[in-house]
C-alpha cells in the first residue's frame, strides 16, 4: 500500500482511453465516491469492466449515462436502459460475458494464469471465434485473462495498513479486480485501526491507494 490519498490525487491518475475495472453488483459494493471523482474530471473514452451496467443513477451506470464509456465489458445491462440505447445507436460498444467467466477471467489475470477453460458458453454465440479445447473427453472454451489499468474497489472495510475486508454482499468482484489491475484504489465504506488477520480478504500489498474519508482521516 502506497498510502491514503485525497480525491485530487486520485483524479491525477486518470487519462482518456484507459481501462477501468469497477467493483459492485447492481451497484451493491460499487465505489460511488471514486465514480463521482471520475465524473468531476473530463476523462472520456474509457473501457469499463464491471459485472453489470448498474443503474442510471448508481454504480458504473453513472459513467455510462455521462457518455464517458467507449466500451463496456459486463455480464448484464438490463437495469440501465441508457446502456442498451447507446449500444443500439452504436455510441458504445458492449461485450457481454457470462458472469462466472467474467469473474474467472479477471481472477486469471490477477493469479498470473494464461486463461481458463470453461464449459460455460459452449454451443452458444459466446463461443464464436474462440478456441475449444477437449480435456478428458469434454470440450471447454478457452477464455483469456482480463486486466485493467485501474481498479476501483468499493464495499470495503479498510484498516490503516490498507488491508481490506468487505461488508455483506459488497465483496462480489472487488477482491478480484484488486489483483487484476496495475493500480488498485479502494473507496472504503468504513475505516478501522487494524483488521483481525483472520478477517482480511485483500491483503494490503495488493492495494495501492485508499481514498481518505471526507473528513480527511
Amino acid at each position: 500500500m502506497k498510502g491514503f490519498i485525497d480525491k485530487s490525487r486520485f483524479q491525477s491518475m486518470l487519462h482518456d482511453g484507459m481501462t477501468v475495472m469497477i467493483g459492485g453488483f447492481l451497484a451493491n459494493g460499487s465505489p460511488e465516491r471514486l465514480i463521482t471523482a471520475v465524473l468531476e474530471t473530463p476523462v472520456k473514452d474509457l473501457t469499463v469492466i464491471c459485472n453489470d451496467g448498474g443503474f442510471e443513477d448508481r454504480g458504473a451506470g453513472r459513467l455510462i449515462v455521462a457518455g464517458r464509456v467507449k466500451k463496456l465489458i459486463a455480464s448484464h445491462i438490463g437495469t440501465n436502459p441508457t446502456a442498451g440505447r447507446l449500444m443500439q445507436e452504436g455510441k458504445m460498444e458492449i461485450v457481454l460475458v457470462p458472469q462466472g467467466t467474467l469473474a474467472e477471467r479477471i481472477r486469471a489475470r490477477g493469479a498470473g494464469l494464461g486463461g481458463i477453460l470453461t464449459p460455460t458458453g459452449m454451443n452458444t454465440i459466446v463461443a464464436e471465434g474462440k478456441t475449444v479445447l477437449p480435456v478428458n473427453g469434454k470440450d471447454y472454451l478457452l477464455e483469456e485473462p482480463l486486466g485493467a489499468d485501474l481498479a476501483l474497489i468499493g464495499g470495503a472495510i479498510a484498516d490503516r495498513y490498507g488491508n481490506l475486508a468487505y461488508r455483506g454482499t459488497m465483496r462480489n468482484f472487488n477482491p478480484l479486480i484488486a489483483m487484476a489491475s496495475s493500480i488498485a484504489v479502494a473507496d472504503p465504506v468504513e475505516t478501522v485501526a487494524v483488521l483481525d488477520p483472520e478477517r482480511i480478504v485483500t491483503p494490503y500489498p495488493l492495494v495501492d491507494y485508499v481514498l481518505k474519508e471526507e473528513n480527511g482521516q
Partner: protein, 216 residues
C-alpha cells in the same frame, strides 16, 4: 383462480428436496421460496455471493439478492466473492437452479438472454448456472400471448445447449428426456389437447397426471 405465476412457483416448490442448495433466478423463480414447505430445509445460493439467502430486508441493506434488492442472510450462511460463487455454481455444487426463459426446445436447450436487434439484457449468471447446476428447472408462462415458447428448436441465440431437465408452466409440467419432451402433468384448468396445441415441440403424452399440489 390462482394467477399463473403462483401456480408455477407452487409446483416448482414441490421439486425442491430437503438439504438442496438452490439458486432462484429473477421473476417467477424468486417467489418459489414463498411456497416452500417449512418442514423442508432448503438452502438458497445467490450468485452475488451468498449461501443462506433469507427473506427480503426492510429498509436499506448492505446485503442484496441477485436482483439488487435488500435481503437477509440466515443463521449458518456465508458471504464470498464472485469467483467463489461461480466455482460453487460451475463446479456442480448447486443442486437445483430455477430460471425463466424465452424459449426452450425438445433437446432441452434454452434461450433467455437476447432478442437480437430488440432487447439485449445480457446473460448475467444464467449461462454458468444452467451448465453447472445438477438440475435445471425452467419456470415460465407456457406461451407468449398464445405464441408457443416450447419449440422443436430454439430460434433465439442459446443460453445453453441441452441443459434443461424440467419445464414448469401454468398449464403443465414437462420433463426433458433423450427422446424428447414428456408431458407428465397438466393443470386441471386445461386438457392434454390444449397443452399439445400450445406447444410447438412434439410431446410424449402416455403418462399424464393432474398437476401435483393443485386442489381440483
Amino acid at each position: 383462480m390462482m394467477d399463473e405465476k403462483a401456480i408455477i412457483a407452487q409446483r416448482i416448490a414441490l421439486e425442491l428436496q430437503d438439504g438442496d442448495l438452490v439458486n432462484l433466478g429473477i421473476g417467477i423463480p424468486t417467489i418459489v421460496a414463498d411456497y416452500l414447505d417449512p418442514a423442508k430445509h432448503v438452502v438458497f445460493q445467490s450468485e452475488n455471493g451468498i449461501i443462506g439467502l433469507g427473506p427480503l430486508a426492510e429498509g436499506p441493506s448492505d446485503l442484496v439478492n441477485a436482483g439488487g434488492v435488500g435481503a437477509t442472510i440466515v443463521e449458518g450462511g456465508a458471504f464470498f466473492d464472485s469467483a467463489m460463487s461461480f466455482s460453487i455454481i460451475r463446479g456442480g455444487h448447486v443442486d437445483v437452479t430455477v430460471l425463466g426463459a424465452l424459449e426452450v426446445d425438445s433437446e432441452g436447450s434454452l434461450a433467455s438472454w437476447i432478442i437480437p436487434g430488440k432487447k439485449v439484457p445480457g446473460m448475467g449468471g444464467a449461462m454458468d448456472l444452467v451448465v453447472g447446476a445438477k438440475k435445471v428447472i425452467v419456470a415460465m408462462t407456457h406461451t407468449n400471448k398464445g405464441i408457443p415458447k416450447i419449440l422443436s428448436r430454439c430460434r433465439l441465440p442459446l443460453t445453453a445447449y441441452r441443459e434443461v431437465n424440467l419445464i414448469v408452466t401454468e398449464m403443465a409440467v414437462i420433463e426433458v428426456h433423450p427422446d424428447g419432451l414428456h408431458l407428465t402433468e397438466v393443470h386441471p384448468d386445461y386438457t392434454v389437447e390444449q397443452v399439445v396445441q400450445a406447444t410447438e415441440a412434439p410431446l410424449h403424452v402416455d403418462r399424464v397426471v393432474p398437476m401435483k399440489g393443485v386442489a381440483c
